[in-house]
Amino acid sequence: MPRAESGRTLGTLAWLRAGLRPSPLTDGSDVGTPAKRPRWLLLASAFVLWMVVVGVGLGQLWAYAQTPGPAARASAAWPAATRLVRDAHRPTLLVFAHPQCPCSRATIGELALLLTQVRDRMTTYVIFYRPLNAEPGWEQTDLWRSAAAIPGVQILRDDDGADAAVFGAATSGQTFLYDAEGKLIFSGGMTSARGHSGDNVGRSTLTALLNGGRSATTQTSVFGCLLGTPTE
């Protein structure tokens, strides 16, 4: 190859090599020199420590996110003692939520997503917990408003958690699905983790059930705050 061409080719190969090879150190330090080894050791140790701390932290965070609330003590059929009216012609979906629970934001989001698919096939109630001595309007949070904005959803206030107690819901985000005969066909949450939107087993199970299909899963974990204080 002529020299001019080889010069250009060499230039092309040079930048390619420069782009592919490790960059040199600018501090002139030579890792191999005995004087520089302790620094590299310290650096490597710091990196490892950092990864460990971050890993542990993330692990803890993920573990927390994956820790469900107490499961519902639900009866297999529509409780007679409830004040809620079941729809005798189609399934009834109940979602119990703590109005202050941040994790239930995802639940309400999943509910909205569910209703875009199967709204007309069920009657949907969202029951918000309200303590007896709560100030007026305590329960009307952005969660309340988000739920109320969903078409086809009836918002109910559950004073002192009476309705939750009747149905056995303990955790915010607890969802029950009763068929037209009043049989409980699903109990659980509609999120995959605390406050985590996105595809989840609960929503996909409800979708399958409401579309007339079957589902192998009838129960999922519920990720959210406690509907009542532990002493209650």
């Binding site: 020299r3 010069g7 060499l10 230039g11 092309t12 040079a14 930048w15 390619l16 420069a18 782009g19 490790p22 960059s23 040199p24 150190l25 600018t26 501090d27 650096l43 710091a46 990196f47 950092w50 990864m51 701390v53 971050v54 932290g57 993330l58 803890q60 965070l61 993920w62 927390y64 996110a65 994956q66 703590h98 202050q100 629970c101 941040p102 994790c103 934001r105 995802a106 303590p131 001595n133 709560a134 915010s172 995959s192 983790a193 406050g195 985590h196 939107s197 996105g198 595809d199 989840n200 087993v201 929503r203 996909s204 899963t217 705050c225 406690l226 509907l227 204080t229 532990p230 209650e232």
Partner: protein, 872 residues
């Protein structure tokens, strides 16, 4: 490795350096950018957490949501290490890898804190794009590994949190990681392109630096000042350190200075020079004086040329300090003037010496000549002849010394004349023939046939050298012969180198002395001066003359056997020169001639001369052999038609042999030619009675031989005519006709003229220049003057004018010009100067005789031949 390869290698090396520096700067700047970004992200994460999930509830009880703690502490931990590295180790690979990992972990945290919002997932893709700012594709690797690892681990342990299903396939993480990899591929190409652009920038920068360095190496390191000034304002806009040094100024003092402020006015107005340069664009050079601080200045030469500087028309000047050069030039001029003055003084000295010495000497020679023309008793005549010969000897010595001085001073003048080499050689021999004959030494000349007859050069100087060598040979030979031989050494269409050898049978020269012979004032032996006389300058002068004629000189000698002096000389060839090889005349071709001479050299020379005419010659050494050869030839019906007999032979001499031939009827028809020496002038009757048709005078000349042969063969057999001397001028009686003054600066030409005049029967004296001629004429009543036109001090024209003006020269004396120039205008010039006639050099005896007859008042009207002036 050649220069181009070196430059390429240096440029590539520098490109790599610059690329590394640029890349490092990118790394460091991006590190700092990410340090800020990660800090902002941390704060933002805390804000997000506080906004989305500030509290966790249990009925009516609430507490700080773990997300807040995670945002603060975990977020801080994620950001702290990369930020710390960005601050302490910017640009390091560890830093950016840590930043890449930290950025992905931050994405994971933010996604988690935001509740897995799909919008927050874009942080991952955005972060990868930000990481591409490094233009280092390797940074994407740990980031991608973190994302893939996160999905892998959570897919294994918490699949629902990633995929929304309780159990996912083990390769499901690839579906999510695949989108990241897709972006990675695009970003890798972007990084590589960015690297290439960086490399291009580095290459251009390196090339510019190399070019700049090469430019600066020339401009800033050159010893000559370079300055650029604006063509319009004449202000200096750029200059190199050398110019500042010349100006004795600093850069800040030069900025804005006009060229007129920096230079003193010169012979040429600078404005005019610049305007002319701008108009025609032709570079020009001017010399100016450069002003320096403290009032000093230096001389500079400025080479100006047009240029364009920073888009404006400018003038670029290369300024060179010529102060030292000027000083040297002035010193050289001064030295030259001093040398010219010295040369002039030397010439004046030589001229004065020549005049001061020759003038009284000419007086002595002239007066002694006049004295000898009077009636003297034998004793008085002896005294007068002694005075004359002593004066001649002294004049010869003085001439040698002055000639040597001229040679040393480089004042010799060489004429350029067309001449016949044969005449030059034979003329020299004529000068010395009498002296040789007096000692009984044969003097012979031989010219080889290939030697061109007509040559162009200075015959006078050639004769001077030959006269010296032949004179020495005759002087140092007591018996035997002296042979002058001319041969062709080399030839070209334009010139010929002739080799001359003068061989004698004299006393020889010791080998130890031979190398010193041509040095001035050196003779073979100190006793030589006492026995043979001489100044020791002749050979030194001859050596100089030979060298000036483009030749060499040398000697071969054996003591007791003889010497051979040789020299070469280069002559030009006239356009129509012919060789000495004469075409045989029809009348001589095939004739049979017998040569009788006891001298082998003479026999050889005659054979050479006769053979050139196509003559069949046979040579014998004595009378008895001759008679036998003649008779045998007659018996064999191949008789000899002519015999050339040497007059002087041992046993039977030439006359006796001639008589013997005449007495023998079988060979009495042979025509006879007698060779006589100069001393045999008085034998005419005796020779005629012996039946000799014509005499040849030694030394025998080629032309004489032909003339005698033609005359002899033209004579009917049996009718001898009164023998006439072939070729040689009939020597006149000294003082028999007028007295002639010869004004000629060349000594040899003087001698030739003197001899020619003597043979024509004139008394003659010689002077060396016009001033001496005027003085001589004022004391001695010469009848005619032969005036050389070109002479030192006072030339012939000036001398003639002086002579005509001088009141004490009563009668109008005929002045005949001797000139080398034969143009018509020269004759007019001679006549206007007051001369009466002229003859051209080299002077032929017949022409000389004719002009003397015309102008010598001692000749009668019957002697006047046709004027030669009409031939001009």
């Amino acid at each position: 490795m050649n220069h181009t390869s070196d430059v390429l290698r240096i440029t590539r090396s520098r490109t790599a350096e610059i690329f590394t520096q640029l890349q490092q700067r990118v790394f460091q700047e991006t590190d700092r950018l990410f340090a800020v970004l990660m800090a902002v992200q941390w704060i933002f994460g805390v804000g997000i957490a506080y906004w989305i999930s500030p509290l966790t509830w249990a009925g009516t009880s609430s507490g700080v949501h773990p997300h807040i703690l995670a945002a603060i502490f975990l977020g801080g931990a994620i950001s702290a290490f990369p930020i710390a590295l960005a601050i302490t180790r910017p640009g390091q690979p560890m830093t950016r890898y840590a930043i890449a990992i930290g950025q992905m972990l931050t994405s994971a945290l933010l996604i988690h804190l935001s509740g897995g919002r799909i919008e927050t997932h874009f942080h991952i893709f955005g972060s990868l794009a930000f990481l591409a700012f490094y233009r280092d594709w390797r940074v994407l690797v740990p980031a991608t590994v973190v994302v893939a690892g996160d999905h892998l681990i959570r897919g294994i342990f918490w699949p629902q949190s990633v995929y929304g299903v309780l159990a996912a396939s083990q390769w499901r993480f690839l579906e999510h990681a695949g989108w990241v990899v897709f972006e990675d591929i695009v970003l890798v190409f972007s990084c590589l392109r960015g690297t290439r652009e960086l490399w291009s920038i580095a290459e251009r920068t390196a090339e510019f630096e190399t070019s700049e360095a090469r430019y600066r190496a020339v401009v800033e390191q050159t010893a000559e000042g370079i300055v650029v000034f604006d063509a319009r304002t004449r202000r200096i806009v750029e200059c190199n350190p050398a110019f500042l040094q010349l100006l004795g100024a600093q850069h800040d003092t030069v900025d804005g200075l006009t060229v007129d402020e920096s230079m003193l006015p010169g012979a040429q107005k600078l404005d005019d020079v610049i305007e002319r340069l701008l108009a025609d664009g032709r570079p020009t050079t001017v010399e100016r004086t450069l002003r320096r601080p403290h009032g000093s200045s230096i001389e500079v030469a400025c080479s100006l040329n047009r240029t364009v500087y920073a888009g404006e028309q400018g003038i670029c000047a290369v300024v060179r300090d010529i102060t030292e050069g000027k000083r040297i030039e002035a010193a050289l001029e001064k030295a030259r003037d001093a040398a010219l003055q010295s040369a002039r003084l030397k010439s004046e000295f030589l001229a004065n010496m020549s005049h001061e010495i020759r003038t009284p000497m000419n007086g002595v020679v002239g007066m002694s000549g006049l004295l000898l023309d009077t009636d003297l008793n034998p004793q008085q005549r002896d005294f007068a002849e002694t005075i004359q010969s002593s004066a001649d000897s002294l004049l010869m010595i003085i001439n040698d010394i002055l000639d040597f001085s001229k040679v040393e001073a480089g004042k010799l003048h060489f004429e350029v004349l067309d001449f016949d080499l044969r005449h030059a050689i034979e003329g020299t021999n004529d000068l010395l023939a009498e002296r040789a004959f007096a000692k009984g030494v044969e003097l012979v000349s031989l010219i080889d046939r290939p030697v061109p007859a007509a040559l162009r050069g200075d015959p006078g100087r050639l004769r001077q050298v030959l006269t010296n060598l032949v004179g020495n040979a005759v002087k140092f030979t007591d018996q035997g012969e002296v042979v002058v031989h001319a041969a062709l050494d080399s030839e070209s269409p334009a010139d010929a180198v002739v080799r001359f050898e003068v061989k004698d049978t004299g006393i020889g020269i010791p080998e130890a002395v031979q190398p010193l012979l041509f040095e001035a004032f050196t003779q073979a032996d100190g006793s030589t001066t006492r026995k043979y006389g001489g100044t020791g300058l002749g050979l030194a002068i001859s050596k100089r003359l030979v060298e000036l004629m483009g030749g060499e000189i040398g000697v071969r000698s054996v003591p007791g056997e003889g010497s051979t002096f040789w020299f070469t000389a280069r002559f030009l060839k006239p356009p129509d020169s012919v060789h000495a090889e004469d075409l045989p005349e029809a009348a001589l071709d095939g004739r049979r001639v017998l040569v009788v001479d006891d001298n082998e050299t003479n026999r050889m020379v005659l054979h050479h001369q006769l053979a050139s005419y196509g003559i069949q010659d046979h040579a014998v050494a004595g009378g008895a052999e001759a008679l036998s050869a003649l008779r045998d030839a007659a018996v064999n019906s191949r008789p000899f038609e002519l015999a050339i007999l040497d007059r002087q032979m041992p046993g039977m001499d030439g006359l006796q042999l001639a008589r013997a031939i005449n007495r023998d009827p079988s060979i009495a028809d042979v025509r006879l030619i007698m060779m006589t020496s100069l001393g045999c002038i008085g034998d005419d009757d005796e020779i005629a009675a012996a039946g000799i048709i014509v005499c040849l005078t030694k030394p025998v000349k080629q032309a004489q031989v032909r003339e005698c042969l033609s005359r002899a063969f033209a004579q009917p057999i049996g009718s001898p005519m009164a023998p006439r001397r072939g070729g040689s001028s009939t020597p006149g009686q000294p003082g028999g006709r007028g007295r002639v003054l010869i004004a000629e600066d060349n000594i040899v030409n003087q001698k030739v003229a003197l001899l020619q005049l003597r043979r024509l029967g004139y008394s003659a004296d010689a002077v060396a220049n016009g001033a001496e001629a005027v003085e001589a004429l004022s004391r001695i009543p010469y009848d005619l003057v032969l005036m050389d036109c070109q002479m030192p001090e006072v030339d012939g024209y000036e001398a003639t004018r002086l002579i005509r003006e001088e009141g004490h020269i009563a009668r109008r004396i005929p002045i005949i010009a001797m000139t080398a120039n034969a143009l018509p205008g020269d004759r007019l010039k001679c006549l206007e100067a007051g001369m009466d006639d002229y003859i051209t050099k080299p002077i032929k005896v017949s022409e000389l005789h004719a002009v003397l007859v015309r102008w010598d008042p001692h000749h009668t009207q019957d002697d006047v031949p046709d004027p030669i002036g009409s031939a001009a």
